[in-house]
């Protein structure tokens, strides 16, 4: 697929996604304003209706909303007394969520790669079987449950880490670690299991290749053969999945944020729901979905740039 085609597909997807988000308010049984400010006066309600464009037909509202959206206007929070823009909160929250996702991905890879290599080399040993079972278990734990568990053990009981809150890394490294370690681990655990097993099965196949025997016949050390010769050709699936997985991580981050009260987009979303700010909610859903789509698109482009590898995979 050419880049132009991909961009076209991207744009169509974004349109559809934002349409859907907009459509949410239509799905709402009853009057959205009722939900937003159940105790307001008719005057206040009318003001809100005007501002949120609820008096206009759907497509007009969508167009207006999209137009504003592109310029950074994400709609407003409506209370009986005030109208505040959503964008402020979101722009603070997004970087936090993205940091969480990035750190989790890195941690997952750092742990999964050596484990994958070793379990492939020592496949069928007790170590391999044990890590297989552990991986299986890790996949069965719900993220939020794991989060609470870690919170309880390491924060409440042992007191090694804070259980809630966030300190950006730019402020203080130790503070950041104190707040970030548990959530990042929680988010990373499920991915570790998947990455490890993926790498393992590719490595096992690669280790049967002739060039590995040849490397052995050159007298190279096992470690060198595993990490310098076998790892690279085996990492294609892993990298592909890791890339595609960033989207999943975004979804998981939402949950982790609520568990650890981290002021990212997930917590903001939860607060919007709790306070029935459905207009804000709609904008946030759109933002999250768009980021998800953009990330996947970016990964797609990145992998096309890594073409020689993919080309190689096709020819071998």
């Amino acid at each position: 697929m050419t880049i132009a085609k991909k961009v076209a597909q991207l744009l169509i997807t974004i349109v559809l996604v934002t349409l859907f988000a907009s459509f949410l308010l239509v799905l709402l049984p009853g009057d959205p304003v009722e939900v937003l400010i159940p105790f307001g006066s008719e005057e206040q309600r009318e003001a809100v209706r005007e501002d949120a464009g609820l008096n206009d037909p759907f497509l007009v509202r969508y167009g207006e909303w999209l137009g504003g959206f592109v310029q950074g206007d994400l709609g407003n929070y409506y209370t009986v007394s005030s109208i505040r823009p959503v964008a402020d909160q979101v722009s603070d929250a997004l970087p936090i969520s993205l940091t969480l996702v990035l750190e989790a991905q890195i941690l997952a890879l750092i742990i999964a790669i050596p484990l994958g290599v070793v379990t492939a080399y020592r496949s069928e040993t007790w170590f391999d079987r044990m890590s297989n079972t552990t991986a299986f278990a890790m996949l069965a734990i719900p993220t939020f449950a794991l989060g609470f568990l870690l919170q309880y053990i390491f924060s409440v009981e042992l007191g090694w880490f804070s259980s809630v809150g966030w300190t950006p890394i730019t402020e203080s490294l130790s503070g950041h670690l104190d707040k970030a370690v548990l959530p990042v681990i929680t988010l990373a655990v499920g991915q570790i299991a998947i990455y490890m097993r993926l790498l393992r099965s590719d490595m096992i196949a690669t280790l049967q290749s002739d060039f590995i025997t040849m490397a052995k016949a050159k007298g190279l050390s096992t470690r060198r053969i595993l990490f310098r010769h076998a790892l690279r050709p085996s990492s294609l699936t892993l990298l592909t999945v890791a890339g595609l997985n960033v989207g999943t991580l975004i979804g998981g981050a939402l949950i982790v944020e609520v568990v650890f009260s981290i002021p990212g987009i997930g917590l903001t979303l939860a607060q919007a729901i709790a306070s029935r700010q459905l207009v804000a909610f709609q904008s946030m859903v759109a933002i999250i979905a768009i980021i998800y789509v953009l990330v996947n698109f970016g990964v797609d482009l990145l992998y096309s740039a890594l073409d020689p590898r993919i080309r190689h995979a096709r020819t071998s």
Partner: protein, 372 residues
Amino acid sequence: MTRQEVLVGAVPSGVTGSGPLLDVRNVSTSFRSPRGMVRAVTDVSFTLERGKTLGIVGESGSGKSVLSRTIMGLLPGNAERSGEVLFEGADIGGLSPAGYRELWGDELAMVFQDPMTALNPVMRVGRQITESLRFHLDMDKDEAKTTAIELLRAVKIPEPEKRFKAYPHEMSGGMRQRVVIAVALACGPKLLFADEPTTALDVTVQAQILDLLAEQQRQRYMAMILVTHDLGVVAGRAHEIAVMYAGRIVEKAPTQVLFSEMKMPYTEALLSAIPRLDQRSHSRLHAIGGAPPDLVNPPKGCPFSPRCPYVRDRCRDELPPLQESATTPGHAFACFYPVDSPETLEIKERIAAQQILATAPTLADSPNGGGA
């Protein structure tokens, strides 16, 4: 004599000394499999001097590849071996993995059959050579690069400086094999195994590669074991040839002697299976009928007996031992009724007579007209 010169084979690295370089004594290798022990190699013995080439010839399943890997020590986990492999006088059979790693690349090296799969596809060609150099010989980056380029030149790769940076898939099959050879020779090994080095290559390229191997071997005074299924490959290039069948050596002789005075019916069959230029076109290729024996439960008696055209009862009951010919020392074979024995000659005449009868024109075809 600089190090570089040694490594690129400009100067021989081998030293004439006492004793054979390689002394293989009663080596057997079996593999554990669900059906039982597969006896891939049984009771093989031979010696090899420095600077000499031994050709090991046999069909697939004859055990020739397993033999070379056994000597090298490259066997998988389910292999069991016995016997002694003496390299420069020391038994390398029971070495630990670390011990083997000392030898591999440095003293013993192997050239594999398929150059495409033998080279790491995501690593540049030059790097695959310099890796060995830096690992075994502690060279620094620049020295290794220069040496590698010289090696590429020595194996006759054009524009070696440019090829240094190439990836294997950017090269033709013949060039890749040259690279494989360069990698194998990089650290100046004393013994080189070439396991079907030309099978995966075009016919035109085959001769070039074999000549290259022979030249390198001569220059370096290196010992070489050339494993192949094709007698033609070893014809002009080995000093001695060992023919293997069903895991055993069935005939062994210096090359000239083998071709002029072969004894084993199997060797004779192998030879006649080679298509020759002087055969009439469209003459049938002589294939050896039947199939190789089961290596889990080998039959008693000579393993070739089911397929031998000159088989007699004794062949089926007793295993013929490998013994030296009385007349020609250095020529050993395992057959009760070799090709020049009276019993076999008798059978040969009968066969020849039948063939003449089969192809003879009938009276009806004779130019004198049909019968009355």
